[in-house]
Amino acid sequence: MIKFFLMVNKQGQTRLSRYYEHVEIKKRTMLEAEVIKNCLSRSKDQCSFIEYKDFKLVYRQYAALFVVVGIDHTENEMAVYELIHNFVEVLDKYFSRVSELDIMFNLDRVHIILDEMVLNGCIVETNRNRILAPLLVLDKVAES
């Protein structure tokens, strides 16, 4: 099961956070700070999975932005590692070459995309067209 989905930049600023288990707000910031510290401390030749407390972190770096996913031991690390990439590919398709600022200025949309992919800590959709379909409809309605 996926416990949380984070996007944090190299400075340690959270750009997106979604928790699939209730965590108090104060604890979230502490957790995020530790998570990014852990990710930053690792070099390129170390593996992308970190054992952290009683769960695992799977992270992937895109320019200055880290996408970090917390999972429990039933999840397949590599599948989650590729899920992150799939997510970024979807964002890239939607924003046509996504950047950190796109994510910041469209936080609600990024959340909507993520909600289509991961629900209750489960991977529910990975088909790019289907992920984007509801959001594209919303955009079209808003435009008209």
Partner: protein
């Protein structure tokens, strides 16, 4: 200021993004662009410009203030509100609570147009948790949207329902969602299934009736809907795999179609068809095929195809492969598939990509339990990973090694783990690893020294993070000992010595838990070490007490140790000093201990009695009714103190009074003082408690006491089977000859695994050699396929600490039988180790051995070869040899068993010494009575006792037997006056004359005057032989001697129940064997002589009386494995006493 903002605004996009921010394709120039100049835009710009946490706080606080105004202003449009919500999401994301906005998020979801509504729902799902009260306000909106004709709205409602929904409102939306399962649009059907999955998770009962609709979803024409239903099935199959076996075929077909590329092309990810779907299906198949050959049969084909298809070199195929391998190793094995899967793991493990290597290690860890050969195949990679610069890889490797640990490689593996421990600082990793080391050490320890030293390392490295089980188990292991008393004492002595050495270092800082372990062991066993003056130990403990880093809890442990040691020494300066020092301590707990110690020291005999040596494992009898306090209580009552009220009564009163007066502070301080004084002592495995805190509710105390004595549920680590025990011996033998031939190992080392041929060895470099040596030590004892043991019972061959001596025996007996079964030359070398006494006692074997020793010179080589399997363990340890010698004698059971048994004639002699055991007269024989036991003896007299339980009293029958050949005159038997018991007639009895070699008896009726769970009735016998002789005896009487069943009708019970005021309630756990109420009642009836008045449903009522006529009523009710007991009696102490007895018999049964 605004200038600065403007400038950042224009610069930022260029710096951080390649193109215009916020321009989604759908909203090019629309909402995205607009935000650049809005409040949201300026917030984002300010956030990106932040340089410190302090600035952030200031900014967000400002933002929150302005948001607060904005959201509650009536002029705020929905469009603006949507923007406010995103800003609120930002604030919460940065860690600042914005609860004032929650209600507005719900409103926005209710009122907004499509995008606004979606953002409203999004904000709700981000802000609120499952049990938030505001969530109820969302239900109406959801219901409305579910009924909407606009599909987008239906979609949103379904999404939010599957994210967060109040459980109690499920019935309100369930029918609507069920309808959606037939919707024409796939996205609606898919989302409906997801919503039902959510319901299944939070309230499985509510969706029970729609299980066949799940099946429909599984067979949906759309792959997305089918995929969504898999989540439900995975969950349901996890809970009950047998209920869904009929679906195995369907899952296999689906996987076949997916793997075969039958899905629409847009399900592909990097040209792999629906990889996450494949993974999900593989997980389901794994659960269905486990231990089920028939189901597994169905899967072999498709698994084979999955392995074959996943050949594209992409990360995602490796993810599928690792799941596939795991499935193949979980289901009923198929050799062809296993072979392919093993090859597949090789691909991972040998990959230069670190992520794949990690995945390979993980897969290897999983499959290694089924097939340890794989560890041998990949041993070099494992060794490399063990020294990998990435600590995560290292840790996973240790996990793998943990799974393959056995008696032969335990030393090396534990050393590797300890090395890792020293490097890591991560708390969780330390706790985890320390637990594993302790487990391995207990299970496979090769000798005492190593075990104690490893545990020392565990305690000092693990510090106070270690789980409390570890010190507790360790101490229990020391205390309970093994089968061999001598070996136990050796272990204890070694522990004592090692701790004394550790305490020698003046400035060393040890973790508290380690200090506690040390003090307990020193307290219990330091007297075993005879060459150390107790004074030295006491001084050391004393100086520890003065250290500032020692916590007060640890001080209590140290004090307990000092007390125990002091009880075994005559007088000690250190103790006197200590008493003096702590008698004025500000720490009340320490002061109390000092006073107790002082008083105890004044009565050494009492002290010895109170603190018996090595009795930590014997059961303590606890007077749960605290009857010894009765006098004190009476005195208190006499002075006008309030009568005691049971805990639940106090609580009820407190609840009713809560509004009037608040007693909170008093309660708190009371609780903390209790916990600091008595409780700590009680939780220690010693159970050494001075019972001074007994003013707490007595029923509770009683319960606590018994629970510390309870051993059920305690993990017995050494009870587990060792790793791969069957294959050990055989494997060892197979390997060893090779070792010798390649000659790369010195005598103490263990053989190379078979994978390494000698010609390979010749060409390897120094470094590799080192690695291979490590490998050989790590992977020794791992199975080969020919793992069938010669003996058929070799599963005991691994070393379990507990059964140490026995195992030695068994191993030897195996060796010995090997002797007889095999060619002589193979076993020649055993001559070196077989002790002389064996040779002497085993004639035929003896000659055979001789023959062996005469064999030709090539034996020398074989000599070495045979030493190998055992050599790791023995590795030249002489004391092991002597051990073996000890156990050896019992191995040759046929020949020399008689020597160890006392001869029959000796037995006869001792029997003839005992005079006739008296028996009861016939009229008493018919009543229930105890066995006749001896009370005391002198040269002339022997006293025997038999308890007869009559209906109205306890009849003590004392037999006085004259052992002499002369007549004894004027034998006087007197019972002393006892606090708790009352002798009905006169407390004395005179036998005017007792003939030579004959028995007289006297009977006394006894009642219990004051209630206690157990008490003593002492007395003495005076008689005149050559001079006045005096013989003391004491009889143990328990409460149960005075309890009789009380027959009554249900009506009488009801009346009596209402009239009684003292009650005690307690829930006790029923073991599975007791199961039902009737079984529990039977136990109570048989063991406690309670009368069952009536049984109604899951409730039962029982009655009994304390002699002469104090009734006690009991009401029992069972619920979820618990037995709720409720006692009532006119006497306040009786329910407590009975409760204790009930707990005892329920535990025993």
């Amino acid at each position: 200021m605004s200038d600065v903002v403007e400038r950042t605004l224009s610069v930022l996009p260029g710096l951080l993004g390649q193109h215009d921010p916020g321009a989604g394709p759908g909203g090019a120039g629309g909402p995205g662009r607009a935000s650049a100049t809005s409040r949201l835009g300026s917030l984002i710009r300010s956030i990106t410009a932040l340089t410190s946490k302090h600035e952030e706080e200031k900014l967000i606080q400002q933002e929150l203030t302005s948001l607060k105004v904005a959201v509650s202003a009536p002029t705020t449009t929905l469009r603006l509100m949507k923007e406010c919500m995103v800003r609120l999401i930002y604030c919460e994301m940065l860690g600042y609570e914005a609860s004032f906005g929650y209600i507005h998020a719900i409103k926005l979801a209710q009122q907004g147009n499509l995008l606004e509504k979606r953002v409203g729902y999004l904000a709700v799902s981000l802000f609120l948790h499952e049990n938030h009260e505001l969530l109820l306000l969302l239900v109406n909106t959801v219901v409305k949207d579910l009924q909407s004709t606009n599909l987008v709205e239906v979609c949103m409602a379904l999404t939010v329902v599957s994210q967060i929904f109040p459980r109690e409102m499920i019935p309100a939306v369930l029918p609507l969602i069920e309808d959606k399962l037939q919707h024409s649009k796939e996205i609606i059907r898919r989302k409906a299934v997801q919503a039902l999955y959510k319901f299944y998770l939070i309230a499985p009962n509510q969706v029970q009736h729609i299980h066949d609709k799940f099946r429909k979803a599984l067979c949906d024409r759309d792959a997305g809907v089918m995929a969504a239903s898999l989540h439900i099935y995975l969950q349901m199959i996890k809970e009950n795999s047998s209920g869904y076996k009929d679906l195995t075929g369907s899952f296999v077909t689906i996987l076949k179609q997916v793997v075969g590329g039958k899905l629409p092309i847009d399900f592909n990810y990097h040209s792999v068809p629906a990889p996450w779907l494949q993974i999900q299906l593989l997980r389901i198949l794994r659960l269905l095929g486990r231990d089920d050959p028939r189901m597994s049969e169905l899967m072999y084909d498709v698994l084979d195809e999955s392995l074959r298809r996943a050949e594209i070199n992409h990360n995602i195929t490796y993810a599928i492969l690792s799941e596939c391998v795991q499935t193949i190793y979980t289901i009923y094995p198929n050799s062809e598939l296993l072979e392919k899967a093993a090859k597949c793991i090789g691909k991972f493990v040998l990959s230069p990509k670190i992520n794949l290597k990690y995945l390979g290690l993980k897969a290897l860890t999983y499959v290694i339990q089924q097939d340890p050969n794989l560890a041998l195949q990949h041993q070099m990679t494992i060794i490399e990973c063990l020294d990998h610069p990435d600590p995560i890889v290292k840790r996973e490797t240790l996990e793998l090694l943990y799974r393959i640990t056995n008696g032969q490689n335990v030393i090396v593996i534990v050393q590797k783990m300890l090395d890792y421990l020293k490097e890591t600082k991560e708390e969780y990793a330390i706790i985890n690893l320390v637990g594993k080391i302790a487990e391995l050490a207990e299970k496979y320890a090769p000798n005492n020294e190593w075990f104690i030293q490893t545990m020392n390392a565990v305690f000092s490295v693990g510090g106070d993070l270690v789980h409390t089980d570890i010190p507790n188990n360790f101490l229990r292991l020391l205390a309970e000992g093994f089968d061999d008393g001598k070996e136990d004492d050796k272990l204890r002595m070694y522990a004592v010595k090692s701790y004394l050495a550790l305490l020698e270092e003046e400035d060393a800082l040890y973790p508290q838990k380690f200090l506690q372990v040390m003090s307990w062991v020193l307290g219990e066993y330091s007297s075993l070490v005879t060459d150390v003056d107790p004074e030295v130990i006491l001084t050391k403990l004393h100086s520890l007490l003065k250290k500032t880093f020692v916590t007060s809890e640890t001080k209590v442990w140290i004090m307990a140790a000092v007390t125990k040691i002091a009880s075994r020494t005559s007088s000690s300066k250190a103790v006197d000093e200590l008493i003096q020092e702590f008698s004025n301590s500000l720490d009340t707990c320490m002061r109390q201990y000092a006073f107790e110690l002082k008083n105890l020291c004044e009565d050494k005999a009492l002290m010895k009695n109170l603190l018996p040596f090595d009795a930590s494992c014997s059961d303590m009898v606890v007077d749960a009714s605290l009857s010894f306090l009765d006098g004190f209580v009476a005195e208190g009552l006499g002075r006008g103190a309030a009568p005691y009220k049971p805990h639940h009564q106090r609580q009820e009163e407190k609840l009713s009074q809560e509004k009037a007066l608040n007693f909170e502070p008093y309660r708190l301080s009371f609780a903390s003082s209790v916990s600091s004084s008595g409780i700590t002592g009680r939780q220690s495995p010693t159970g050494l408690s001075f019972g001074s805190d007994t003013s707490v509710n007595s029923a509770e105390t009683g319960h606590k006491e018994t629970s510390t004595l309870k051993l059920e549920g305690v993990r017995k680590l050494w009870g587990k089977e060792g790793y791969l025990p069957k294959k050990e011996n055989k494997e060892g033998k197979e390997k060893e000859p090779q070792t010798v031939s390649c000659g790369s190992l010195s005598a103490g080392q263990v053989g190379d695994p078979p994978a390494l041929r000698s010609d390979q060895v010749a060409s390897i470099s120094e470094e590799d050699k080192e690695k291979q040596q490590l490998a050989s030590t790590l992977f020794i004892g791992l199975g080969s396929n020919a793992g069938v043991s010669l003996m058929g019972k070799a599963d005991t061959a691994t070393q379990k600490f507990k059964r140490k001596s026995k195992i030695n025996e068994i191993q030897h007996s195996e060796e010995v039988s090997d002797f007889q079964n095999s060619t002589v030359s193979d076993f020649g070398p055993l001559l070196d180790t077989v002790p002389i006494n064996v040779e002497d006692s085993e004639g035929s074997l003896h000659t055979r051995l001789r023959k062996a020793s005469l064999c030709s010179s090539d034996i020398v080589e074989d000599n070495l070869a045979f030493e190998m399997p055992q050599s790791f363990k023995k590795s030249g340890l002489d004391e092991r040899l002597s051990d073996n010698r000890l156990s050896q004698s019992s191995l040759f059971a046929d020949s020399n068993i008689e020597i160890f048994q006392p001869s029959p004639s000796a037995q006869c002699e001792s029997a003839s010494k005992t005079p006739l055991v008296p028996s009861l007269p016939e009229e008493l024989e018919e009543l229930t009575h105890s066995e006749v036991v001896e009370l005391c003896q002198s040269d002339a007299l022997a006293l025997y006792l038999c308890k007869v339980w009559t209906d109205d009293s306890l009849l003590l029958t004392v037999f006085v037997s004259n052992k002499t050949t002369a007549v004894l005159n004027a034998v006087n038997l007197v019972f002393e006056e006892a606090e708790h018991f009352q002798i009905l007639e006169s407390p004395s009895h005179q036998f005017p004359v007792i003939e030579a070699k004959s028995v007289e008896r006297c009977q006394k009726c006894v009642w219990m005057g004051k209630i206690c769970s157990q008490g003593f009735l002492s007395g003495s016998v005076n008689y005149q032989s050559e001079m006045e002789m005096h013989l003391d005896f004491s009889i143990t009487l328990s409460l149960m001697d005075f309890i009789r069943p009380m027959e009554m009708t249900t009506e009488d019970f009801g009346k009596l129940w209402l009239s009684l005021s003292n009650d005690v309630k307690q829930n006790i756990k029923m073991s599975s064997s007791q199961g039902s109420l009737s079984a529990a009642l039977n136990t109570l009836q048989q063991k406690l002589k309670l009368h069952i008045v009536d049984v109604i449903g899951n409730e039962g009522i029982l009655a009994c009386q304390l002699l002469p006529s104090v009734p006690c009523l009991l009401h029992c009710r069972t619920h979820s494995g618990m037995l709720a007991l409720w006692f009532r009696s006119p006497c306040s102490a009786l329910p407590d006493g009975l409760l204790y007895q009930c707990q005892k018999v329920m535990e025993e049964s």
